[in-house]
């Protein structure tokens, strides 16, 4: 069978490579980008900037920080302030040397021609930059955040173009940020929630969840809902994971810790009394 003479447009063997790359974005980056977008100069339609972060050992790109780079865009040309980019990079590296360039971002939906040029510039800085687009215009009716890597399209031996392939994106938050997540959602919060208030809210949520489960189990028993074995198994595993303490042991445990804490409370009250006494001694003592 004669070999086919047609050259085939290859989507590159790197599709196997890119399928392993995922990106994780910290919400700080989104905040930063939105803030920069709001502050952009009047004639600019979009803002672009550099993404900083690190590459985790399993191949995931962890995007932790970002800064905006002033640029000018004309019909065909793009001018980027490279010196600014390097200065900011140096300053950021002084604070945190582990955060290196991992890519760049731009606002607006989709990838334009100018983006390819900018991407090429970033390819020179870092081997496989990730391109993040943040749609601040909410064009699809929702704020889409997408990440791309570029894959080279080659026809035979010739390089044709670079294709932006989307990679899965994951938005994650560290615990402290989760604590303040509700604060970050609204446009203004009058005061930071105190310990007790936060605890109350959390308890209420937990109780709602448990009520939901309760209702579900009820419905399943009575036959209203379709029983799902896997859910039932998960539920029973959860319940079985509670430590099995006999009632007196549990009682003793609770009481002991309670008493410890009451003791501490007593100590701290005594300390406070001591403080006010010390203050009196320090300032009110008069020499004749």
């Amino acid at each position: 069978m004669a070999a086919s003479d047609r050259t085939v447009l290859q989507f590159g063997p790197s599709s196997a490579v890119t399928s392993n790359i995922t990106a994780k974005v910290h919400p700080l980056v989104i905040f930063n980008i939105s803030d920069c977008y709001v502050r952009r100069p009047d004639q600019a339609e979009r803002v672009i900037g550099t993404l900083l972060g690190s590459v985790l050992p399993d191949g995931t790109v962890d995007i932790r920080n970002s800064y905006v780079v002033p640029h000018n865009e004309f019909s065909d040309q793009v001018a980027l302030d490279i010196e600014y980019h390097h200065t900011m990079l140096k300053s950021h590296l002084k604070v945190n040397p582990q955060e290196v360039i991992v890519g760049w971002f731009s606002t607006g939906l989709g990838v334009t021609g100018g983006s390819a040029l900018i991407h090429e510039f970033y390819c020179r800085e870092v081997p496989n930059p990730v391109h993040l687009t943040v749609d601040t215009g909410f064009r699809n009716g929702e704020g889409t955040v997408k990440a791309y890597v570029s894959v080279n399209l080659s026809l035979g031996d010739r390089q044709l173009a670079a294709q932006f392939q989307e990679i899965p994106l994951d938005l994650r938050m560290i615990e402290a940020e989760r604590v303040g997540f509700d604060i970050l959602k609204s446009t203004s919060v009058d005061k930071l929630p105190s310990d007790l208030e936060g605890m109350e809210v959390l308890m209420e949520r937990l109780l709602t969840l448990i009520n939901d489960i309760y209702k579900y189990v009820d419905d399943t028993v009575e036959g209203h809902a379709v029983p799902d074995n896997s859910v039932g198994r998960i539920l029973s595993e959860t319940v079985a994971s509670l430590p099995k303490l006999s009632p007196p042991a549990f009682d003793k445990l609770v009481n002991d810790s309670l008493q410890d804490q009451l003791l501490l409370l007593y100590l701290s009250s005594i300390t406070r009394t001591q403080l006010s006494l010390a203050e009196k001694l320090n300032t009110a003592a008069q020499m004749p």
Partner: protein, 400 residues
């Protein structure tokens, strides 16, 4: 009444007092990230924003690199700051310094350096604020952001170096008056809040901060107690210094009196002998040298720290106690679920035991509530008198 332009310009501007500090969510996230990355090392950074009337708006911030204690690198640090401000200016960020932030470990931030930094800043900026963030307390579940500033009365007194006992008594200044805490308000632009609401993950179940519900608060309490004990030691050292000072002052006065007496007697003798009386004062005599009063600032700061630790222990106690209460109530609920599940699967003798256990566990919260209600007579056999005693104390301190 219409005033001439000259009159208005000549009238002194009275700055409205600072009522609230408005932080942007972006700044909070940046501070959290920076402090958390470098914890337990303490880090600082600069706050940028606007000063509008009685609100101080903080719109951006940038971190400071950790500096070594080298003289040459100080110029480097100033360069870094200038460069950052210049770059941020180019992208339309408010270029105005309004203060600085620093991280702390369990709240021991009241130091003399803080006061020095405040005074340095106050020379250039009319209104500045310091934001303290505590990453270790945030791990416990509370968002520990605090905005501090020095009270004006303290600043005047400190600047004039009149930090002595009489002056303090005059102005009625005590250790609570050094720092003023300003309420913090968080604001976000509409775009960001739209994004955040949008990007809220589909499973709100996993994205909640259930770490707060952890029952083991003992490491936190232990560290708090450790610091508290250290501070108490420092306080007692300071108090000993004061005692020593007072004792030596009394002794010196007694010495002065006896010397004066001797002089007077001598003068009487000399008058009788017809000689010139000697002066009644002798500044060269060492017993007339005024003893320097020990500085009070340190003891004030220690008092502040101790109060802080006490507050934290109290707050922690609140949370833990609620944990226990709810834990007791949740357990029976969960066990009910198990019972129901067991009936779905199959009827086994296991169920019987669980029902008994269920009843016992249901009695448990009743016993705690009953005991707490003042040793009330439900007739629980588990509780001995000691528990009732402690529950009494609990309710007493609850109202404290």
């Amino acid at each position: 009444m219409a005033r001439s332009f000259l009159q208005v310009a000549a009238a002194e501007e009275v700055a409205p007092p600072l009522r609230v500090v408005q932080i942007e969510g972006l700044v909070m996230l940046k501070i959290i990230k920076h402090c958390k990355e470098f914890s337990p090392a303490l880090v600082t950074g600069q706050l940028l924003g606007l000063d509008v009337g009685s609100v101080l708006e903080v719109t951006n911030c940038f971190p400071f690199p950790i500096q070594e204690e080298d003289e040459e690198i100080e110029a480097d640090g100033a360069n870094y700051q200038l460069e950052m401000m210049r770059c941020l200016r180019e992208v339309n960020v408010d270029n105005n310094t309004v203060g600085w932030y620093q991280s702390t470990m369990l709240g021991c931030f009241q130091t003399a350096e803080l006061i020095e930094t405040f005074l340095n800043y106050q020379e250039n900026i009319r209104r500045c604020v310091c934001i303290i963030y505590d990453p270790s307390r945030s791990n416990q579940g509370a968002l520990a952001f605090k905005a501090l500033k020095l009270s004006d009365s303290f600043m005047d007194l400190y600047r004039s170096n009149n930090f002595t006992g009489e002056k303090l008594r005059e102005k009625n200044l005590s250790w609570v008056d050094i720092f003023e805490e300003i309420p913090v308000k968080v604001s976000n632009s509409a775009l960001i809040s739209a994004f955040m609401t949008e990007l809220e993950p589909d499973t709100p179940v996993t994205q909640r901060d259930y770490d707060r519900l952890q029952l083991s608060s003992s490491p936190f309490l232990e560290r708090n107690m450790e610091f508290l004990i250290e501070c108490m030691d420092d306080l007692s050292v300071e108090q000993q210094k004061f005692q020593f000072y007072y004792r030596s002052l009394t002794r010196q006065q007694a010495q002065q009196q006896s010397w004066l007496q001797k002089r007077r007697d001598e003068n009487k003798a000399r008058k009788a002998a017809g000689e010139e009386p000697l002066p009644e004062e002798d500044p060269s005599n060492p017993i007339f040298k005024p003893i320097p009063e020990p500085p009070r600032l340190e003891s004030f700061l220690i008092a502040n720290r101790i109060a802080n630790y006490c507050n934290q222990i109290n707050g922690c106690r609140h949370c833990c106690h609620y944990n226990y209460y709810y834990c007791c109530y949740l357990l029976p609920l969960l066990l009910l679920l198990l019972v129901v599940l067991a009936t779905i699967r199959c009827y086994c003798s296991f169920c019987h035991c669980f029902c008994c256990w269920l009843l016992l566990i249901l009695l448990l919260p009743l016993s705690i509530v009953g005991g707490g209600g003042g040793g009330g007579g439900d007739g629980e056999d588990d509780d001995d008198d000691d528990d009732d005693y402690y529950y009494y104390y609990y309710y007493y301190y609850c109202s404290y």
